[in-house]
C-alpha cells in the first residue's frame, strides 16, 4: 500500500513538473509570448508580474522561483519571512495577467466550488442513467425495454455533450420552459447542464454495466447463491452487482477526466461562472498564468479521482493487489 501511494505520488510530481516546465519554456521563449517585450500589460498587472516573475533575473533563477517551493526572492528570505515559500510547489499560482489585482489562486477558489457542484451532479447523472439503464437492460434481456435502453445508450454515446445541451435547451427551456436557458445560482440552473455533461458517460456506463451484469448473472457463484436459497433480489444486489460494478468503477476515472473536459464547453453554453469558463477565457485572452493554473488544478483533481478509483477498486475486489499493480 505504501509503495503504491509512493509510486503514485512520484508520477504525480513528474506530471506536474512536466506541465510547469513545458509552459515555462513556451511562455518565455516563443515570440509574442506573455512576457515578450512588445506585449502591453496593464500597469497594475505589469507590477504584479514583475514582482512575481522577476523577468530581470537569469532564466534558471526564474525557473526555480516559478517552480518553488524555495523562495529566491530576497524579500522572502531576508524580509519579514512571512512568505518564505513561493512558486507553484508552494501552491502559489501567481497573479492573473488579465484581471487586475486578482491572483489565480483567488479566481480558482471562487470558481472551483461551482465547477465541483456541476461535475458532481454530472457524475450523479452518469451513474443514475448508467446503473439504472444497465440494470433494466440486464434483468430483462431481449425485451423491448432492453432494446430501448440500448438504442438510447448508443445515441448517447454518439452525441457530443454540446449537442445534447443544445437540444435539451431547445426542448426543455425554450419550447417548454421548464428550466432556465442559462445562468447559475439555483438548483434548477443545475439540472440541464449537469444532465448534458453526464449523459454521454451515463450511456457508456449503461453499456459497461449491462455487459457486466449479464456476465456476473451467468456466473457459477450466482447459481451457488440461488442454491443456498438466497432471495432473487438479494442474488442480484449482493452477488451479481459488485462484480458488475468493477468495470464501472474503473471507468469512473476516465469519466471524471472527461467530465472536466466537457465542463469547458458546458459552462460556456450555460454561462456558468466555473473554473472551466475561466480557463477558456484565460486561454482566449492569453492569460497564461490563469490557464496554466487551471490546468494544474485539473491535473491534481484527475490524479486525486484516479487514486480514489483505484482504492475503491481494491476495496471491492480483494484479489486486487495494489502493491503488484504499482
Amino acid at each position: 500500500m505504501r509503495r503504491f501511494l509512493l509510486r503514485r505520488a512520484l508520477w504525480f510530481a513528474l506530471t506536474v513538473w512536466a506541465v510547469v516546465t513545458i509552459s515555462f519554456v513556451l511562455m518565455r521563449n516563443v515570440p509574442g509570448g506573455p512576457f515578450s517585450a512588445e506585449r502591453k500589460l496593464h500597469p497594475t498587472v505589469e507590477a504584479a508580474v514583475n514582482a512575481r516573475y522577476h523577468l530581470d533575473w537569469p532564466a534558471w533563477r526564474q525557473y526555480l522561483q516559478t517552480l518553488g517551493p524555495l523562495n529566491l526572492d530576497e524579500h522572502g528570505v531576508f524580509g519579514d519571512r512571512s512568505d518564505v515559500f513561493g512558486g507553484i510547489l508552494a501552491l502559489d499560482l501567481g497573479p492573473s495577467l488579465q484581471h487586475r489585482d486578482v491572483s489565480v489562486n483567488e479566481l480558482v477558489a471562487q470558481s472551483l466550488p461551482v465547477s465541483a457542484a456541476l461535475g458532481a451532479a454530472a457524475l450523479f447523472w452518469a451513474l443514475l442513467l448508467g446503473i439504472g439503464g444497465g440494470l433494466v437492460s440486464a434483468l430483462r434481456p431481449g425485451t423491448a425495454l432492453d432494446t430501448l435502453a440500448r438504442v438510447l445508450s448508443t445515441l448517447g454515446l454518439s452525441l457530443p455533450n454540446f449537442i445534447v445541451a443544445s437540444l435539451l435547451v431547445l426542448a426543455l427551456a425554450v419550447a417548454v420552459p421548464l428550466f432556465p436557458v442559462a445562468g447559475w445560482g439555483s438548483f434548477s440552473h443545475l439540472v440541464l447542464p449537469s444532465f448534458a455533461l453526464g449523459a454521454p458517460f451515463g450511456a457508456y456506463v449503461a453499456r459497461l454495466f449491462r455487459a457486466g451484469l449479464l456476465e456476473t448473472l451467468s456466473q457459477d457463484y450466482v447459481r451457488t447463491a440461488r442454491a443456498k436459497g438466497v432471495p432473487a433480489h438479494q442474488v442480484v444486489l449482493r452477488h451479481a452487482l459488485p462484480g458488475a460494478l468493477v468495470p464501472v468503477i474503473s471507468f469512473l476515472g476516465t469519466a471524471a477526466a472527461g467530465i472536466l473536459t466537457g465542463s469547458l464547453v458546458i459552462e460556456r453554453i450555460f454561462t456558468i461562472p466555473g473554473t472551466g469558463s475561466h480557463f477558456v477565457a484565460g486561454a482566449l485572452n492569453r492569460d497564461y498564468a490563469l490557464a496554466m493554473g487551471v490546468t494544474l488544478v485539473y491535473t491534481v483533481a484527475v490524479y486525486g479521482l484516479n487514486l480514489l478509483v483505484d482504492l475503491a477498486y481494491a476495496v471491492i475486489d480483494p484479489r486486487v493487489d495494489l502493491e503488484k499493480e504499482a
Binding site: T224, G229, V230
Partner: protein, 341 residues
Amino acid sequence: MSLLEVRNLRVGFATARGWAQAVESFSVSVDEGEAVAIVGESGSGKSVSALAIAGLLPRPPARIETGEVLFGGRDLLRMPERELRMLRGRELGFVFQDPSTSLHPLMSVGEQLEEALLVHERLSRAEARARALAALAEVGIAEPDERLAAFPHQLSGGMRQRVMIAMALICRPKLLIADEPTTALDVTVQAQLIELLRKLQRERGMAILIVTHDLALVSGFASRTQVMYAGSVVESGFTSELIAHPAHPYTAALLRSVPALDDALDARFGGIAGTPPDPTQPLPGCAFAPRCAHAVAACRERRPKLSPLALQPSQSGALAISSRRVACGEATRLLSEATSA
C-alpha cells in the same frame, strides 16, 4: 416412500442450432439416508438433470417439458419459486463441480457460509459465526477462525471444495446433491473428499445424490447407481452388482474405460470409441447403436425402454443380480452369453 422421487424428467435447451434435447428421460429415487450415484460420459445430461431437480437451470434457454420431482411428497416443479427457494439450502444442499468458480470471489468465506444460515434461520450474527466456525471444523479445515476471514482466492482447490461442502451442509439438509464434486481436483484430494462425504453422510443419516463420471470413485460409497447416456438412464441397479456384471453394453464400455478397475487389457484404449449423438439431432433407435459392438438391425429401429432385466431365476442367482433395470434389447442375451462363456 422415498425422499426424492424423480419421474420421466424431460429437459431441453433452445440453442442457436435448434432444440437440444439434453435430458430425454430421467428417473431416480433416493431413500432417506441413502447414497445414489449417477454416472455417464461428459454431455450425457447428468448436470442438467441434477440442476433441474433443484430448479437451478437458467430459464430460458432451458425448458422442463415433462416430469415430476417429488421431494418429501411435494412436486418441486410445480411449487411456487418462493417455497422452492425456502427448501433450497435448508433441506436440499448443492455442491458444484468447480469450487474455484462456484464460490463468490468478492465475499469472504465467513460471509458466504453465514449467508445460508441468515436466510433460513433466525440467528444472530454471533450465532451464525459460531455455526460457520463449527461447519468449517467439521469438513476438516485447520484453523477455521482464520479461514473465515479469508477470500476464496487465498485457499487451495481442495480447501475451496471443503468450504462448498460446509456451505451446502450448514443448514443440515436431508438431501445433498453433489455434481461431480471432485472432478476439478487432483487424485489424492479426490479420495479425501469422497471419504469426507461418506463420513458426513453416515454421521448425519443424510441422503446423497452424487454425480460423477468415475464409477470407481463412488463404488464403495453409493449403494445404488444409475448410468446415463445421451439424456436417458440406460441402466440402474446396486453398485457392486453393476460393476461385477454390467448388462448394458454402454455400462460395460464405461467400466472398461476406467483403468482403476484392473482391466489392464482394455484400459489401454482409454475412453469409448466414437462420440455421443448430437442432442439437436436425436436418433430414432437406441442412441448407443452407432458405437455399440453388439448392435443388431432392431436396435436402430426401436428405442429400447428402461425395463427390469428378464433373467431366469437360476441365472440371477448365479450372477447375484437382485434388482436391475436396463434399456437394451440385447441385454439378456449378452448376459447369458457372458455367463455361459
